[in-house]
């Protein structure tokens, strides 16, 4: 083996020497050409791409028909791609709301809040109707915005087992109370699985009044901090718009699913009584998807380089949505 290596070494050295000689003989012109060729391989080219966008401003209409709130609609023009700030509120449009019984209501404009509205005394949203909205800027407008929705029914939450309350340590806020709830929405039909949950807190103080133990409400109402669901976290979305929880109950077991909330403070000896007050709104799919996409858009601004958020729309000839919601208020009390 050693003898073989000794034989190879002089040949290899000779080849190396030849290479060195060859390289040194390359003229300056040749070197320049090779360098230029190498550089041209790395050359990239950037040029504007012509996109065909309509010069007419597209309109966006947002309207959520709620059984518990005044009927309101927001109409604006969309910012053009070449000047996204060009979007503005449209104040001179005509917006009509119709139902399958041909009841047509015209919105009025509230210039202070820049919203269109139907006075409460005129009409309350009725889950039995199918609603149609139409917004246009002049009579026989061929580009009138139009959408249809139904109003889902409201549901009460059923607590399936006793809530578990314990102290947990959090890096940001120190020790806090964690409340684990096991809940159910058993009567929900598959097509109506979309909900918005607003949970808040009231604390009660145990007092002895003339020998009787009573619980007296103390302090201000504060929102519950949502802790999510471990089984299917993507089924629940904490809205960046208003802190509500948007969820699709069809993605979890609707007869038994977990929800976790946090509150400030520890579990204390005198803390005998607590309540989670909630407003649960059954949402139409349009309301759910529009609000989730809007919330994700706001989050995207915070996160920066994330995948783009696709805007939801069910409006014909424009953007935005017409959706419905039905609210149910109740509380979960536990000791």
């Amino acid at each position: 083996m050693i003898a073989k290596s000794e034989n190879i070494t002089p040949i290899a050295l000779a080849l190396c020497k030849k290479k060195v000689i060859f390289v040194s003989y390359i003229g300056m012109y040749c070197k320049f050409t090779i360098s230029l060729l190498c550089l041209s391989m790395l050359w990239s080219c950037s040029e504007p791409l012509q996109l065909d966008y309509s010069d007419d401003a597209e309109l966006l209409l947002e309207c959520e028909l709620s059984t518990s709130r005044r009927i309101e609609a927001r109409l604006m023009s969309l910012g053009n791609f070449n000047d996204i700030t060009s979007g503005e509120y449209i104040e001179d449009a005509i917006i009509d709301l119709g139902t399958n019984t041909d009841l047509a209501l015209r919105f009025q404009y509230d210039s202070r809040n820049k919203v269109y509205f139907i006075p409460v005394e005129s009409h309350m949203v009725n889950p039995a109707y199918i609603y149609t909205i139409k917004a246009y800027r002049f009579k026989n407008d061929p580009h009138a915005l139009e959408a249809v929705t139904t109003i889902p029914s409201g549901h009460k939450i059923v607590v399936t087992s006793k809530p578990v309350v314990k102290d947990v340590l959090n890096a940001k806020s120190g020790t806090r109370k964690e409340i684990n709830l096991k809940l159910a929405l058993p009567d929900v039909e598959k097509k109506n699985g979309f909900f918005r949950l607003k949970a808040y807190r009231k604390l009660f103080e145990k007092q002895n009044v003339n020998g009787n133990i009573v619980y007296v409400h103390k302090g201000a109402v504060e929102p519950r901090e949502f802790g999510g669901n471990d089984q299917e976290p993507l089924a629940f979305h904490l809205s960046a718009v208003d802190g509500d929880i948007l969820f699709d109950v069809n993605r979890v077991d609707k007869r038994n699913f977990d929800l976790r909330f946090y509150t400030l403070g520890k579990v204390e000896e005198g803390d005998h009584f607590e309540a989670i007050y909630y407003v649960l709104e059954g949402l139409s799919e349009a309301t759910y998807r529009y609000n989730v996409s809007k919330s994700k858009q706001i989050n995207a601004e915070v996160f920066g380089n994330s995948d783009p958020v696709i805007s939801y729309k069910n409006m014909i000839n424009g953007y935005g949505f017409l959706g419905g919601s039905s609210a149910v208020r109740d509380s979960i009390l536990f000791q």
Partner: protein, 209 residues
């Protein structure tokens, strides 16, 4: 295809999720189908090959694109490759290659929704009408070259002189969506391409027989 994963819209994975981070990755389904065909002609002086592919690839995620199916970003729908090799005498050969591919897809915004106004500053977010709602321009490229072959005592020598992308077509590799440097309210979409018309030369030495 089941249990396909993708990046979530408008969010990033956080270490705060702990062991639960895997459940925060959107899961969905995909469909792909297509057909391929090849035509080959071989003669004494000519070698011709043509192949064409038609395909369609879509994805559907509950958490992406509002639950609607969308085109997969590498869906090219239609592509063809044509290669011609022509012998010009005993020691030289001409090669021509042509490819046409339908552009792949990407998402681009179509406008901005006014969200709020604070201290005279407008806050907006861009509107994306659909995931992968925009097709890149078609990818077209023509290459040609000559190969000269010779032999001597050392071995076989092969010199290739060719031109890559003769049409000098600026096929975009990716789109750059950014704000104008002078007016931040204006979005600009630029297509970025590499490898314009590119002459090439290569020498191959095969030592021995």
């Amino acid at each position: 295809m089941d249990n396909i994963i993708s990046l979530g819209e408008g969010e990033v994975l956080s270490l705060e999720d702990g062991d639960n981070w895997q459940k925060r990755i959107p899961r969905g389904t995909g469909k792909s189908y297509g057909a391929e065909t090849t035509f080959n002609l071989t003669g004494k002086t000519i070698n011709f090959e043509f192949n064409a592919t038609y395909g369609n690839a879509t994805r559907q995620f509950e958490d992406l694109n509002n639950g609607k199916p969308y085109l997969y970003k590498y869906d090219r729908t239609f592509m063809t490759n044509t290669a011609l090799s022509l012998k010009l005498g005993g020691k030289s050969e001409m090669n021509v290659f042509f490819t046409y591919q339908k552009g792949s897809s990407t998402s681009i915004p179509t406008g901005g929704i006014f969200e709020r106004e604070e201290n005279g500053q407008k806050y907006l977010y861009p509107v994306f009408e659909g995931k992968n709602n925009f097709r890149f321009p078609d990818f077209i490229r023509l290459d040609a070259g000559f190969t000269f072959v010779g032999t001597n005592k050392i071995g076989a020598h092969k010199i290739f002189i060719g031109i890559y992308n003769i049409l000098n077509r600026k096929n975009p590799v990716y789109l750059d969506i950014s704000r104008n440097n002078f007016n931040l309210n204006v979005y600009e979409v630029s297509k970025v391409s590499i490898f314009p018309v590119l002459p090439s030369i290569s020498y191959t030495l095969i030592i021995g027989k």
